[in-house]
C-alpha cells in the first residue's frame, strides 16, 4: 500500500503570509486529495489534484486561496495563502491506494497568529 510523507507536521505562521505543505508518495498515484480539518470539526475536501491538469476545487474553496501543484505522479503541494486565524486547521493529503482504498498523510497542524 502507498506510504505518504507529509511535511511540515506543524507550523506557526504570521497572518498575511503563506504556508506550503508537501506530500510525497512512495508510488505513482493518479489522484491526490487535500482536506482541511478545522478545530473540533470533520474533514472537508478542498480539492482533487490530478497530474498534468489543474486541480478541481470543491464548493467554497478557490485556487487563489489554496493553489495546488501536481508536477508528477508522486508529489503534490498545497499552499494556504494570505493566512488569517480562521485558516488554523489540520491539513491532510490523501491518495487512492492501500488496503482500504485510501491512504492519508499524517497531517499538518497550522496555527496562524
Amino acid at each position: 500500500s502507498a506510504v505518504i510523507s507529509q511535511k511540515p507536521s506543524r507550523d506557526i505562521c504570521q497572518r498575511g503570509t503563506s504556508l506550503t505543505i508537501q506530500c510525497q508518495v512512495d508510488s505513482q498515484v493518479t489522484m491526490m486529495f487535500w482536506y482541511r480539518q478545522q478545530p473540533g470539526q470533520s474533514l472537508t475536501l478542498i480539492a482533487t489534484a490530478n497530474q498534468g491538469s489543474e486541480a478541481t476545487y470543491e464548493s467554497g474553496f478557490v485556487i487563489d486561496k489554496f493553489p495546488i501543484s501536481r508536477p508528477n505522479l508522486t508529489f503534490s503541494t498545497l499552499t494556504v495563502s494570505n493566512l488569517s486565524p480562521e485558516d488554523s486547521s489540520i491539513y491532510l493529503c490523501s491518495v487512492v491506494g492501500g488496503a482500504y482504498g485510501y491512504t492519508f498523510g499524517s497531517g499538518t497542524r497550522l496555527t496562524v497568529v
Binding site: L45, E58, F104
Partner: protein, 109 residues
C-alpha cells in the same frame, strides 16, 4: 452539505455499554468507510462496507448499510474507555471520499 448527516453529534456512555452511531447520505455511493480519530491525531481506518454488503463485523465493531434508506450505522459493543474518540463515516462518491460531521464518543470508566 458535502458532509452529510451523522448522529448523534456526541454520545456519553459507561464502560461496558454499547454505542451506536448513525450516518446518512443523499446520493448513491460506491462504498462507505468508518474512521476513528483520537483527540486531533491521525485517522484510523475501522471498517469498509461495500454498497452490495448489508453488514460487516470486525471484533467489537458491527457496521450495517441500508442502501434503500441511504444510511449506515456503527455499533461498538462492550465499550472501553480507550474507545473515547471521534468517529467519522466517509462515503465514496466515485473516487472522492466525503466525510460526515462525526460523532464524539466519550466512554466513562
Amino acid at each position: 452539505s458535502q458532509q452529510g448527516e451523522e448522529d448523534p453529534q456526541a454520545l456519553s456512555i459507561q464502560e461496558g455499554e454499547n454505542a451506536t452511531m448513525n450516518c446518512s447520505y443523499k446520493t448513491s455511493i460506491n462504498n462507505l468507510q468508518w474512521y476513528r480519530q483520537n483527540s486531533g491525531r491521525g485517522l484510523v481506518h475501522l471498517i469498509l462496507i461495500r454498497s452490495n454488503e448489508r453488514e460487516k463485523h470486525s471484533g467489537r465493531l458491527r457496521v450495517t448499510l441500508d442502501t434503500s434508506k441511504k444510511s449506515s450505522s456503527l455499533l461498538i459493543t462492550a465499550s472501553r474507555a480507550a474507545d473515547t474518540a471521534s468517529y467519522f463515516c466517509a462515503k465514496e462518491y466515485g473516487n472522492k471520499l466525503v466525510f460526515g460531521a462525526g460523532t464524539i464518543l466519550r466512554v466513562k470508566s
